[in-house]
Amino acid sequence: MGRPLINTLRIALHLLIIRPLLRLLFGVNVVGRENLDGVDRFIMAANHNSHLDIFLLLSALPPGKTAKTHPVAARDYFEKPAWLFGIVQFLLRPIWVDRNNSGLAAIKEMQRRLDDGCSIIIFPEGTRGQAGELQDFRGGVGLIARQNPDIPVVPVYLEGPERAFPKDAAFPLPLWNHITIGPPQLIRGKSREITSALYRHLKTLADEEQAYRQRRQPEPHRPFVAAVIGIDGSGKSTLSRRVIGCFKGESCFVGDGLELFTNGEPHDAQPLTINEVRKWMGRQAKSAKNLARYKMRKLAELLLRDRLLSEVERWYRPDHIFMDGSPLLNMTAWAMLFHEEFFNAEVCSKALDILSGKDDRLKKDPIFEQFPELKALRKLNLNHLHLPDAVIFLDVDPEVSMQRIASRGEAVQAHENTEKLTKLRAAYHLVCDVLEQSRPVCRLSGDKSLEQLTQEAAAFIKKVGSGVDETD
């Protein structure tokens, strides 16, 4: 018998206190209010970032609908303390969902309220998400919408509460809130389809809202790039993968394939187109019959690999990148195979400078006559290759590595014989000598056990990496 009185009190509280308070203190701007005209019952689906959300949504409704609209709320969150539960129960009369148990009871309750002629407000994200980001939707909204194909679903996007009163904030701040009420949707189909259609609607609203926001420059993120170099068959990739296992955070391995690791555990990643192109080019190089053919294909593969490094930094944003070889260093060392007669420390140092785009002063240098490839690369503006932050040289006897290559059972590549590999090994030593003047270099002897190598390499990277962090 006290029911009507309590109802009147509730409506008065909403219309006379909460609504003016929200408008005066926070500022509420409702866009698309006309979308609710003539809609009797509805299921309102909104993004959820703040405790203000529900009050903002109720304040955007026509006054007559305030008391006949009920939110869906998580019981476990509001259950304690008792006074909070009492206030929420009195103000909002929510449909309680028990997140620990099945949601069927809540679905039944929603259905009952809809049958009573009430409307419901549901936050399909399930919980308050990260500020300004739309999380994946839970299935409940799809289920209830499928059961009631004649009740429209109204997508609503809230912008502002994530700044006015974010999730972890101690106090709310007076900042504007914008409520965009989308057109009511009558979506038919399976509940999963309804949910994903609704997600797309809300995403569109979100993108429109976000389009003109002021944004600061994203925080720069520079991963630590370590390259493991060595002759073919020295076990570079095996070592790299083992070393990644020793590191926390996101790591990426760029070898023949592209592998992502979180805290040392491999996981899937969105494939990058450039990696597919590079793999194809790598296969072409491997199937080359002689060194001359091998050269151009390998060069293309190395350039693509360097480009891939930028793409990995941009899209995956890892903390560490481990590379099986380094395009810059490989290219320099490979010059040895083709122009052995000119190759010495000075030339090697110049070549590194030119290829990493450091030295533009070297305009007319004999080096361009000796290595026409350098000239071509510079003309094509392909001389800005990545110089890794740290280099690990895995020094293995060519005889041993030849045995390993043979045991792989793959077709032997054009350069894979003891003579060429010996030359290459000498070239890598020379490159390391030059590099040691500017970068940390670690030479590991390949006759140690894999365990020992991993430990030494990881210790080296940790030592060097922490130094890099400090100087940054």
Binding site: G27, R163, F171, L173, Q214
Partner: protein
């Protein structure tokens, strides 16, 4: 303070603006009125209240306008989660500033924002505990405090000295804005001289009423339109970065700060011009 008796002009303008505002409300946007109308109405309401009722009431109306402008600015600027204490501080500086005007403590009023707020606000921001991005946060909050609190305070102090000169200044700026809007597609070489002529006519014609000597009226009539032009050029770029667009001036999306920009840019200059040349502060 300087005005002998309340003038009827403020009431006439207020009534005209109220009618326009009412028409725009009743027609629900079918009759297009400028987006800057509510702000202009608010300013004239404050000035009329100041003349006919009490300056203290007008002062707090201007404080509310200042709060609305700062709130809108802070809603648009990209703030970090860690800046919340700094923002809270910025809001609390508004009543403090306007209280200083109420008790007419000019010495403290003039240094409150550039000295105390600019030193204490970074402390509050630093309490957030994250250094990354703090320079931009402090810079953004500094601009908000200076422009929407300090400059608004100058406007209020100007009204404290003389409602008539404040009214004249607002009317001149509004006229300059109107000419700018009407002749948007004409060259600037035509617009600016026209604005100068209108401002000079307003100031010199009303020199007796505003109690400013004729030569200073003339000077102000030249300075104000030129500075409005400069202010619009400057604030246009800031508004661009904040994502304010002329075609979507909704409440909370730049309607208030877009309407206020010219008045706030001019107010400190006119105020200090009068203080310096007419020795108003010595009164």
């Amino acid at each position: 303070m300087l005005d002998a008796e309340p003038s009827i002009y403020s009431l006439i303008v207020l009534v005209l603006l109220s009618v326009a505002q009412a028409v725009s409300l009743v027609s629900k946007g079918r009759l297009a009125t400028p987006a800057s109308l509510p702000v202009l109405w608010g300013l004239f309401l404050a000035l009329a209240v100041s003349e006919w009722i009490s300056f203290i009431a007008a002062l707090w109306i201007l404080a509310i306008i200042s709060f609305c402008a700062l709130r809108e600015y802070l809603s648009l600027v990209d703030i970090r989660l860690e800046d919340r204490w700094g923002i809270l501080f910025s809001y609390f500086s508004i009543p403090f500033m306007f209280y200083l005007i109420q008790i007419d403590w000019y010495g403290f009023f003039i240094v409150a924002i550039p000295v105390y707020a600019f030193l204490l606000m970074p402390v509050c921001v630093a309490l957030g505990g994250r250094s990354r991005g703090i320079v931009f946060s402090v810079g953004a909050l500094d601009f908000g405090l200076f422009f929407y609190v300090s400059c608004m305070g100058h406007l209020c102090y100007l009204a404290f000295f003389s409602e008539r000169i404040a009214m004249l200044m607002i009317a001149t700026v509004a006229a300059a804005d109107l000419i700018h809007r009407a002749l948007r597609n004409r060259p600037r070489a035509l617009r600016v001289p026209l604005q100068v002529v209108v401002a000079c006519v307003l100031f010199t014609g009303l020199a007796e009423w505003s109690a400013i000597p004729l030569n200073h009226s003339f000077a102000l009539g030249i300075i104000i339109p030129l500075l409005v032009c400069l202010g619009r050029f400057t604030l246009k770029q800031i508004e661009d970065d904040l994502g304010i667009r002329a075609d979507r001036l909704q409440p909370g999306r730049g309607r208030t700060i877009d309407a206020l920009k010219s008045y706030l840019f001019i107010a400190p200059i006119v105020f200090h011009y009068l203080r310096w040349f007419l020795k108003w502060g010595a009164l």
